[in-house]
Subunit: 966 residues, 2 copies
């Protein structure tokens, strides 16, 4: 007969599949000789069989009976014995922990006779309180009675006795409660509460198994991608009681300090109490350290146990224990999950203590730990001051880490308006959020909700977007109509300042300064990252557009710049007008130049008569070309000089390291005024022209007054003349912007297409790069520029660009009399480029994956639209496992990348390949990059430390598969 | 020593690589014993060596001398012999014909003494005319003297002699011309015209070889993708003269009638004339048939030769011949290129005559032939009437086939405005076109240019776009400033009607009715396509949205409907308002429904006190939901009933054949008014509200008057009240349209994403399909619906949709009591879908490639923007070999398709796979579809016959690689 039931003595830590995590842990501790209350585990296989057929396997209950008598003899009590009763718990426990998602029944074994024996052993109040807990818990869990009905009954008794708390009820009242609970049970279920303790056990086991398929559990597994086929085990264990006198008690202990990480017992202990009393919060527990003076023996026992457990598991432990009449029972131990700072200290200490290797220590530190240590935080002094000033409001769930500050908006539309249009920091405050609020969340600095837990919509969405969030802050009362929320007598209104800390859950009224963390002072983190650097195969580079970003990246350990977006510099206030002049002239220049070329050929072929006709037109075109050339090439020259200075800055900052400079990428209309704005302005000016006075009178809206001011300026304070003069200008601009509009700019005239259509722009950029590089090299600076062409899809595009640009580079170097070593490469951001990577590699010394665009094109998602329109819904409904703009879609985009690497390297084995999309800082994506053999990942400077760790994990995970980090 | 020179006797037809096409043809004819003027060929290898080193291989001229003396002995004349001189031509001839792109020198061997002998043999005028031709041709070709200078000299002599034509010049005058030509030669070259005939020969051969690298030739090869490494041969051949008396003559003969295809000699003959005289057009040649009476012997000789040639080559021949003193010389033969109708007849006849197999006959018919037979044509009667009415204007080059009619525009912007915004047919008339005109070409029905040949910009672009074009119509004088063109004294002004026939090159003033060809009367084509059907592996389906299209497709031989775009039916005038109502209500419905769900959960969990609070809100939401449901679901119901009738129509029409119905695909805002239009209207109404009278006064523009009319209607003819009422409506609409706008709609909320977000829409469609199918099946109609989900990228999308839709289908079938067999499948139009085709195939019974979108996403090109913005430039500059929206990009998109087919069939071996993009009717793309193993191609109904042929070619080309069609 198959073995369905395992005594704790019969199992061990490796049997998680069969016994679940809790069962395997209890077995392991029992095996090691720790004082674990005796018990046994019914396997996960039984759970699956039961849930499939609704029946238990034949012979199983015989095995349970046999195990139970072992427990009885070890515990020295008997199940159902009216003189010396054994009480047991039945707890769920799956292979993968699902805290709070499944059911537990405690105190099984009580009935009208055993309760009396329990009263004898402890006291009457405790015994009857325990009994009423069993009846309600059993009723709720096993018979699915609405828990509020038990609560209402209890409330009635409390009212009658004028009791404020449950604990104010005396033994007599509790007996009455039990009687009423049993009445309620009979009324709801149609039968008596079972006094047969075996029946109690059987039905509790069944209920625990059924809870595997409860809605909460199923949702949790779907969300966390836990297979629904695992099943849960059911652990039956002797109850022990910490409230049996002053030599009893209950507590939680961590083997290391959870705040500092120091090696010392840490936790809380409540003498003469059960776990429930801790939760009820009526008595303040003592610190574990105080045990040393008050209960030296218990402290000594606990210290011994803690050290043995830690040495055994080689990881800081989180231990639940109960002391029953001087005897220390260990109820559970598991790996402690200390916060970031402590986790780093513990990892370092354990390496010093030779408990773990550096590699193991590295795997214990999660990328999230590094993120937490480097997130913006409130300035502690400012926070303390705010507390003193009474600005602390409440504490909610720390749902998405980081500190944020801004003005309050209750309406997502308003949040969007303030955040996007006014570019002011805004905190969105909602009762709870739904997909209809996402457009507001996207433009908020932080989110605060009154309801919802760690898997609520707000929590999931903000974590996904990297926006700080405090969720489920029940203390706040939100009133949408009044546009305010209250905490007690404090009121925060729409538009007022609010500060939230998503790492701690704290909420403050008013503004609190946030500060960037100081990486250089994080010595322990730096040590750890130093070890990471020794392990990782991937280099970590950074994306930086300005010298100051490059400096920061270098400080964080970046080994190069993987993406310098040259056009970002175009946007600066003093440059934009020149850039716009250039852009408006470019298409006209191109057109006239072509016309002139065609006319010149005609002229060549013409008879002398006809030549005379053509000469006039030729002269006219020449004069137009001269004017356009001044506007187009002249502006380009001015921009080129500025760009050269930018490049001097960044190349100097990154001396000795590679700097990949990407040539202009975005569609030109991104640098022009918005079409809609111009359209409205032109419409208004056309009407205003007829009756300027009326327009002046009606101009109360801000945008109208701005337009009027512009007209006044143009007209030398004469409005009518100003409107007359402004209108044709705006009309011309409108026409130009209209010409450059595209239905799908993402798939339009940008990247190398722009460079090929307007070669003068890219030539200007290349000239600026090489002038900068030559100048620095003459100064003795070690410059390593790499020129990157964006959006290549055809090998021929790259060949054409490369030829033109290398000629330009050569000419600059000859002029400057300096030879600069450089590389020439391309972004891979269109599926076709990955598919023909072999052809492209013939013209490229390096590839850099632009995974944002590659994700857009491979999946057909517009980054600008997809998230609020459908993508977040997809994630919520489980159609997509992750947001592919955060973690690379392995199956699709990842597959293309792998193909690309293989094909590129086949042609050019030493091809340098990296990634410069936003995914470069995402640990799961970094793992993929390691797997497919990239040379480096490039991410934002702040993400560099995270990437260094994640890259080491990627190596270690493959080297030490057994140490897989959870 | 390598053999550099081959006598015609030494070669044969298989030696095209070495001897070029012309050389191999002359050799083959010589070998077969035809009377070919004797000669020899210098090989293509010599050409390559000469062009590389500038020198001829050592010993080559010795081989030439040897060959020349063979020619002399065969011809009975000697080269340079002052008594009996042999004249020769040197002609280029590459492996692949490049007509007119390289050089030829004729009449080599004339000098001051041999010219006298020639005068003796023929007549003086002819001899001197031939001599002056040699001097000028030699000067131009060998010495690169500007040809116009010779012309100017000739013109001077003509003026002096008051001669209107060259032929008006007598022998004395021609002698003077020769003298002046030689002076000119000396002046330009700096040396005398060579009297050494060997030198003439040597330099002519060198010039012919050099012309391989002339600009025209290089451009032509680049354009036609002919390798630049082939080189040309140089053919030296004895000159024969057709002007040696009445028993001489020259002509061109086709072995079959080039108009009807009948088996009879066809062509023209000019007695006592040289080829040039035919070109000069002074004498009207006689029809070949007339030879039978006038020159029975020549006719008999020619008939014999024609039959032998045709039997040998098993293909209709195009023969150039000269009769010199009764002897028939064959100068060239090549495969005739008859127009479509004749080609079809010839192919059929040759099969009947057992000259070729059916398969060979099929390969002779090009897809273009089928297209020509099925293109819109002018109604012949209307055309004849137009001619009678004097409306015929001119004849230009038939640059892109098809007849077109529309109003004249000279400006591309205007063409765009008329064609797109006014939706009126427009003909763009330009001197010549450039890339700056493409936006106008795109919206024109036809293009007429005054300048430019078959490879001019206009010709290439229009052929690419399938727009009829007459190019190089030199007779028209275009005056942009006056916005008119003239032909003689006829004037056509902007806005007047014009009709052009791109198949014939004819241009007519006024409107001429165009008619669709009658496929059913094309019996011979039908026979041929029947044979094609026997050969092809691919099925041919059609894309059709309406029953009338389906009927047409079926008539053309479609074996199914591969794409029925259900949403096209949404656009019909009577439906659009209902569709808009539905679309405006949908997002609100979704939102309120979700809110109600959340509130209901809260209510469930709430205490009774709180429940009372919530009840009010719940009731409010219920009432809003009821209203929205009426608007959203109510509209859907009405649309559903209409759709059901549409489906009844198309399924009935296609009884017994599969019909793939695609569920709604485009973004919803495509059904709403344009955002910009609304924005301008709202801006105007806001201003008008303040002073309605002023607005009424100022409303002269058409759009303003329309807006005013709308306001009057709303206000019951009270304008002020109308504006007040209209403004908030327009504002709401503007807001709704704004919400549905997307930065990149191509990558946005459309396809199955729409179906998943608004499941009610797709459920409505599926209901309509199955109600239609059930009703028809009850009537005994054999219906075969296939439901297609667009834009799938994730297997999970398809699973979710399939489950929902199959449930709907099941429920309809149960209600109707009928079970309809159907398939469920998806479009593959996103790269990711192709990459994970194995996963997707688990949920799909068929795939259909949407190659338009797949091209957009794989290459990152927006169909709406790319062509005018950069794509046509790319093609012109050779960066792209083809327009990927016309012919599938094999390397990128094709590779993905191949991958997809393999992966999909691995999971589901009987997976039905087809293509429904516009590429489905493109022969090169059809070839790819055959190669990668698709089941069918689906194209527009008119393309079905073309696809049937192209599919057969795809099979035959692989079965009979030797019969590769050119």
């Amino acid at each position: 007969m198959p073995k369905h039931v395992y005594l704790f003595e019969e199992g061990n830590a490796s049997m998680r599949d069969l016994l679940g995590g809790k069962g395997a842990g209890l077995a392991e501790m029992t095996r090691l000789g720790f004082a674990v209350p005796p018990g046994f585990t019914i396997t996960t296989k039984v759970c699956n069989a039961y849930n499939k057929s609704g029946r238990f396997p034949p012979g199983m209950w015989k095995q349970v009976d046999a195990a139970l008598s072992q427990v009885e003899s070890k515990g020295g009590r008997r199940f159902g014995d009216p003189a010396n009763p054994l009480l047991v718990s039945v707890r769920s426990g799956a292979k993968i922990s699902m805290p709070g998602m499944m059911d537990t029944v405690l105190n099984i074994g009580l009935n009208d006779s055993t309760v009396e024996a329990l009263a004898q052993m402890s006291n009457e109040r405790f015994a009857w309180d325990t009994y009423r807990r069993l009846v309600s818990m059993y009723g709720r869990i096993v018979k699915e009675i609405d828990g509020r009905k038990f609560e209402a009954t209890l409330d009635r008794h409390k009212e009658k006795s004028a009791a404020r708390k449950d604990t104010d009820l005396g033994p007599g009242e509790l007996k009455a409660v039990v009687a009423d609970f049993k009445d309620l049970y009979r009324h709801e279920v149609g039968e008596e509460f079972p006094s047969d303790v075996k029946q109690q056990l059987r039905e509790s086991v069944a209920a625990v198994f059924r809870s595997w398929n409860g809605k909460r559990a199923v949702d949790y597994r779907t969300f966390n991608k836990i297979p629904h086929t695992l099943g849960t085990a059911a652990n039956t264990q002797m109850m022990v009681f910490g409230n049996m006198g002053p030599d009893s008690g209950t507590g939680v202990a961590f083997t290391r300090n959870q705040v500092t990480g120091a090696k010392e017992l840490y936790g809380e202990y409540l003498p003469n109490a059960q776990g429930e009393d801790v939760v009820a919060g009526i008595r303040t527990p003592m610190k574990i350290a105080e045990l040393r003076g008050s209960y030296p023996e218990i402290y000594a026992d606990l210290s011994r146990v803690a050290e043995r457990l830690e040495n055994h598991f080689r990881e800081a432990q989180d231990i639940e224990f109960t002391v029953e009449r001087g005897k220390l029972w260990i109820l559970q131990t598991r790996a402690a999950k200390p916060p970031a700072r402590a986790a780093v200290r513990i990892a370092l200490d354990m390496v010093r203590e030779r408990l773990v290797t550096k590699q193991e220590a590295l795997l214990r530190i999660k990328p999230d730990h590094v993120i937490q240590l480097l997130l913006p935080q409130f300035d502690e002094a400012a926070k303390a001051e705010a507390r003193r000033a009474g600005l602390f409001l409440a504490k909610g769930l720390n749902a998405s880490p980081g500190a944020a500050m801004g003005v309050v908006a209750f309406d997502p539309d308003e949040a969007e308006r303030i955040g996007r249009d006014e570019a002011k920091p805004v905190i969105l405050v909602r009762l709870e959020t739904s997909p209809d609020d996402v457009h507001g969340i996207l433009h908020s600095k932080g989110v605060l909700t009154a309801r919802g837990g760690a898997t609520s919509h707000a929590a999931v969405v903000t974590r996904g977007l990297g926006i700080p969030c405090v969720a489920g802050c029940e203390a706040i009362q939100v009133d949408y109509d009044a546009a305010e929320f209250r905490v007690g007598d404090k009121v925060v209104r729409r538009g007022e300042h609010l500060a939230i800390d998503g790492s701690t859950g704290e909420v403050f009224a008013g503004a609190i300064r946030t500060i960037a963390p100081d990486f250089e002072r994080e010595a322990e983190l730096q040590t750890l990252l130093g070890w990471a650097d020794e392990e990782r195969a991937l280099q970590v580079w950074a994306n930086a557009d300005y010298p100051r970003d490059a400096a920061r990246a270098r400080k964080f350990g970046a080994q190069g710049i993987g993406l310098d977006r040259t056009e970002h510099m175009f946007m600066e206030t003093d440059r934009l007008p020149i850039v716009q002049e250039m852009i408006l002239a470019a298409p006209e220049y191109r057109k006239v130049k072509r016309q002139r070329g065609a006319l010149a050929s005609q002229f060549e072929a013409a008879t002398s008569d006809r030549r005379r006709d053509l000469e006039g037109r030729l002269a006219e075109l020449d004069s137009r070309l001269e004017d356009l050339s001044r506007r187009y090439l002249g502006s380009l020259d001015r921009i080129g000089q500025m760009q050269r200075d930018d490049f001097v800055g960044i190349l100097r900052e990154m001396a000795g390291l590679p700097v990949i400079i990407r040539l202009i990428d975005p569609p030109l209309h991104e640098f022009l005024p918005r079409y809609e704005t111009l359209l409205v302005q032109v419409t208004k000016l056309r009407i205003a022209r007829g009756d300027p006075e009326a327009f002046v009178r009606a101009a109360t809206a801000e945008e109208d007054r701005a337009l009027l001011a512009e007209a006044r300026k143009v007209g030398g304070s004469d409005v009518a003349r100003g409107i007359q003069a402004l209108l044709p200008r705006k009309e011309r601009l409108l026409e130009a912007v209209k010409l450059s509009r595209e239905a799908n700019p993402m798939l339009g005239l940008r990247g190398c297409r722009l460079g090929i259509m307007f070669p003068e722009i890219t030539r200007m950029q290349v000239r600026a790069i090489f002038e900068a590089a030559c100048r620095l090299q003459r100064e003795g600076v070690d410059v390593r520029p790499e020129i990157m062409i964006p959006l290549v899809g055809l090998a021929e595009e790259l060949r054409v660009e490369r030829e033109a640009l290398e000629a330009e580079a050569k000419s600059v170097m000859e002029r400057e009399g300096v030879s600069v070593a450089y590389k020439f490469g391309t972004m891979i951001e269109i599926p076709r480029a990955a598919l023909v990577a072999d052809e492209i590699a013939r013209h490229a010394e390096f590839f850099s994956f632009g995974t944002n665009d590659l994700t857009q094109t491979t999946m057909g998602y517009s980054r600008d639209d997809a998230e609020p329109k459908f993508l977040l819904d997809y994630i919520e409904e489980g159609i997509l496992p992750n947001n592919p703009f955060q973690t690379i879609d392995r199956k699709g985009v990842g597959q293309l990348m792998r193909m690309c690497v293989q094909r590129g390297r086949k042609v050019r084995p030493n091809l340098e390949i990296g990634i410069c999309g936003e995914h470069g800082g995402d640990p799961a994506s970094i793992d993929l990059c390691h797997e497919i053999g990239l040379n480096y990942v490039s991410c934002s400077p702040f993400r560099v430390p995270v990437a260094r760790l994640a890259a080491a994990h990627a190596t270690l995970r493959r080297k030490m598969p057994a140490s897989e980090d959870g």
